[in-house]
């Protein structure tokens, strides 16, 4: 059993079943404060499902989610946010009628005094957003929109943050900014769980890597123990033999 007083995000035995199929199978790992853990795996491996389950967006079959020793398993999505889990779901999902500032205001927690301080702090972290604070969310560029979704999750001052494919659909030049933001968050002491398809980028920023295959966390390693090539191979579904061999040959070349 994991230590009940362990700080950071501690997941134990988390299992998700959707229409009869096990999509997350007894996931067990921890993310310490200040640590970036990359979650990699193919499409349908269960990364999003695992993040959704930790956030409380989907019902689980079993297992626990703890944050700094507190058991959050019985809390609903909106209660887990207040307990300190920030969740950035896949896709940008902005509120089109709200400005940058209003978006952050809506997302901040209820205490009025702490709210303006939190917004100021987040805007400091993302100077681009500070410049465009009165712009409507949908007028932002793709990269700025992604920054806003991350800022939105940060403004409730979470202790752990779950990022679901923040690089999706972004131009290569914008990726630098996004991953720099990920590193800064960890620097501020957050526990960061980062689900990514862009394996090389994720490895570059992560301390540890979880490789997920068919709902199972197959590997849990320090990031420097895994080359990007090996990591990509590890995410492949072993049942797809032809593709596996082909990819292996490509790597050897």
């Amino acid at each position: 059993m994991s230590d009940r007083t362990q700080s950071g995000l501690v997941i134990d035995g988390l299992t998700v079943v959707r229409s009869g199929a096990v999509v997350v199978d007894a996931a067990r790992f921890a993310v310490a404060p200040g640590e970036v853990v990359a979650l990699i795996g193919g499409n349908g491996a269960g990364k999003s499902s695992l993040l959704r389950a930790i956030a409380g967006a989907d019902p689980v079959r079993g297992g626990t989610v703890r944050l700094d020793g507190r058991d959050l398993s019985d809390l609903a999505l909106e209660q887990r946010v207040r307990a300190g889990i920030g969740w950035c779901p896949e896709g940008r999902r902005l509120f089109p009628g709200l400005t940058v500032e209003e978006t952050l205001d809506v997302a901040a927690l209820d205490d009025r005094g702490r709210r303006s301080a939190a917004i100021a702090r987040v805007l400091e972290l993302f100077p681009v957003l500070s410049e465009r604070r009165t712009a409507l969310a949908w007028t932002l560029s793709g990269g700025q929109q992604q920054m806003l979704t991350i800022a939105r999750a940060l403004v409730s001052s979470p202790k752990a943050i779950l990022l679901d494919e923040p690089s999706l659909g972004l131009a290569p030049v914008v990726l630098d900014d996004v991953f720099a933001a990920v590193a800064r968050m960890a620097g501020d002491g957050l526990a960061v769980l980062l689900a990514e398809q862009n394996v090389p980028r994720a490895l570059a920023v992560a301390d540890r890597v979880l490789v997920m295959r068919r709902g199972v966390i197959a590997l849990d390693l320090p990031a420097d123990r895994l080359t990007p090539e090996a990591a990509v191979l590890a995410t492949l579904d072993a049942s797809d033999d032809a593709a596996y061999e082909e990819a292996e040959q490509n790597l050897e070349r």
């Binding site: 499409n43 793709g142 659909g169 131009a171 630098d176 995410t235 492949l236 593709a243």
Partner: protein, 553 residues
């Protein structure tokens, strides 16, 4: 035909036998009324269930049918049979006229527009002199067919139920085969449908006209049955009854409409003496069913006696159009103060994969939308081969050979993968296309159950079944695993080798660079580089604006 049909027919025969045994004239009248409402409700199912539009005008068409019959017989002395034909044709024309504006509206506006129309009909028949005002029209003659009078009781009952059988036949014809999947695609995936060459306006015209014709037939029968036409036929209560019948019977199902009418129409008789109290009953039943039992009676029956699909045809490729190049010349588009596209040129040649790259907001998706006809440019020229495209709507462009895959494919909710893939061609072509993208094993699954990667492949298959000469894809590889990317890459290469012009918008350079023959890079709405892949990827402007140093290396 199916076991479900057999079960319903058997139940109806049983009801008829019981009716004959009882010999009660009052019950006969109610059974006739059930048939009348069933006809109108079957029509309503086409628009409400299949188009998914809450068009509250079916009651108005019912009223128009009744008044047309009343006017032509009592005022102009037409023979009743001819009048009945007019009672079908006039509402059908009116329905087609309503469909044109209603076709462009979203649900909350469709409801209001059709409600306004119903109010107009009610105002007209209540206040015009020609319709007899509040008194209505009296002395509608008895229906005569070949000099034989169709009297009240069994003759009228059988005539009306022959009309029900006719309505069932018309319904089945309207949604037969792959057409049902086309209507579902138009309803649930409107953008994809247009890009596939499905014409929403034609579909809506057809369904509105057929629905209104059935509403008019029912109204005509009502007038014949009662011998009078009063403004009561135009009251909103009729529409409420039809809506309740459709929901209780099961949305979109013709047999459901009959079942709903059988259950609900006798209800007022239970509340006799308490004037409008049956509507209170309808309210309670309607609320209970839509909350607890959303698929209605037919949904339950379907669970017990599921329909089996038709036999699979042999896969056959669609007829391939002559190879043609897509040419975009000086296309310009502004959104408010933003220059989305500034004199953009692009040529996609047959046999080549053309990559379109650029940062988010650089105009790639706008360009794709303009090419496929979902948006209009401010100026510029578009040609497919020698054919200019700008004057044509999206469905017409699709039929010329332009196909498009979407970044987030829209999927119809209630059809199989095979049927949904066949909407732009036939089932043989659909099966061939599924085989081509590697989804043939999933052909009989509901298309809504596909995961994100498979639905992307499905979206490409559905475009291929149309037999396009140009294929446009928007980030097809995003979210795919490495083996899926490899398979997609091989597929696109082989399509190009077959003579197709393939245009791919993509951010994944590891996917695009080995695949593409030529690259076009957009930045802030302008083409900053175009040409062979190796030249474009080393272009300093492209590196600065988009690729960054790492990807260019």
């Amino acid at each position: 035909m199916t076991r479900r049909w057999a079960a319903y027919t058997l139940l109806l025969a049983l009801a008829a036998a019981l009716l004959a045994l009882s010999g009660d004239a009052y019950l006969l009248r109610i059974a006739t009324l059930v048939g009348i409402y069933a006809i109108a409700a079957i029509g309503f199912q086409l628009v409400f269930g299949r188009l998914g539009l809450l068009a509250l005008s079916q009651g108005a068409f019912f009223a128009i049918g009744a008044y047309v019959l009343g006017l032509t017989t009592t005022v102009w002395g037409w023979p009743p049979l001819l009048a009945l034909a007019a009672a079908v044709i006039v509402p059908a024309v009116a329905g087609a006229l309503v469909a044109l504006p209603a076709a462009r509206l979203e649900t909350h506006y469709v409801a209001l527009a059709t409600l306004g129309l119903s109010q107009l009909v009610l105002l007209a028949v209540t206040n015009l002199d020609v319709t007899g005002g509040a008194n209505g029209l009296y002395g509608v003659p008895v229906l005569t067919v070949l000099d034989g009078e169709i009297a009240d009781g069994w003759p009228m009952l059988l005539t009306v139920w022959t009309g029900v059988a006719l309505a069932l036949g018309v319904f089945a014809l309207t949604v037969r085969g792959v057409r049902a999947a086309r209507f579902s695609t138009l309803r649930d995936a409107p953008h994809a449908a247009r890009a596939l060459g499905l014409d929403p306006i034609r579909a809506r015209l057809t369904l509105f006209a057929v629905a209104a014709a059935l509403g008019g037939l029912a109204g005509g029968f009502q007038a014949l049955g009662l011998g009078v036409v009063s403004p009561a036929v135009a009251r909103f209560d009729v529409m409420i009854s039809l809506l309740a019948i459709a929901v209780v019977g099961g949305r979109g199902s013709a047999w459901g409409a009959i079942a709903g009418a059988v259950v609900l129409i006798p209800l007022p008789e239970l509340f006799r003496g308490l004037e409008q109290a049956y509507l209170l009953g309808y309210g309670i039943v309607l609320l209970a069913v839509i909350v607890a039992w959303p698929h209605g009676i037919d949904g339950l029956v379907r669970r017990w006696l599921p329909d089996t699909g038709p036999a699979r045809p042999a896969p056959r490729p669609p007829s391939r159009p002559a190879p043609a190049a897509l040419r975009v010349e000086a296309v310009t588009k502004r959104f408010g103060g933003v220059q989305a596209l500034d004199r953009v040129d692009l040529v996609a040649r047959p046999g080549e994969v053309t990559g379109l790259i650029g940062a988010n907001g650089s105009g790639k998706t706008t360009l794709m939308n303009i090419v496929s006809g979902l948006e209009r440019p401010d100026s510029g020229i578009l040609r497919l081969g020698a054919v200019p495209l700008l004057g044509r709507r999206a469905p017409a462009r699709a039929r010329l050979g332009l196909a498009r895959g979407f970044q987030h494919p829209e999927l119809p909710s209630d059809v199989t993968v095979l049927d949904a893939a066949s909407v732009a061609g036939d089932r043989a072509a659909g099966l061939w296309a599924l085989d081509r993208v590697g989804l043939e094993a999933l052909a009989d699954r509901p298309v809504a159950s596909l995961g994100p990667a498979d639905s992307r492949l499905f979206d490409i298959a559905r475009a291929l079944a149309a037999g396009p000469s140009v294929l446009l894809l928007d980030e097809p590889a995003a979210g795919l695993t490495a083996p899926q990317r490899a398979r997609l890459s091989r597929l696109l290469r082989s399509l190009a080798d077959d003579g197709m012009a393939v245009v791919v918008v993509e951010h994944g350079m590891d996917f695009l660079l080995p695949l593409a023959d030529t690259l076009v890079c957009l930045d802030a709405g302008r083409v900053i580089a175009a040409g062979p892949v190796d030249a474009v990827r080393r272009d300093p402007a492209v590196i600065a604006a988009y690729l960054g140093q790492e990807a260019a290396a």
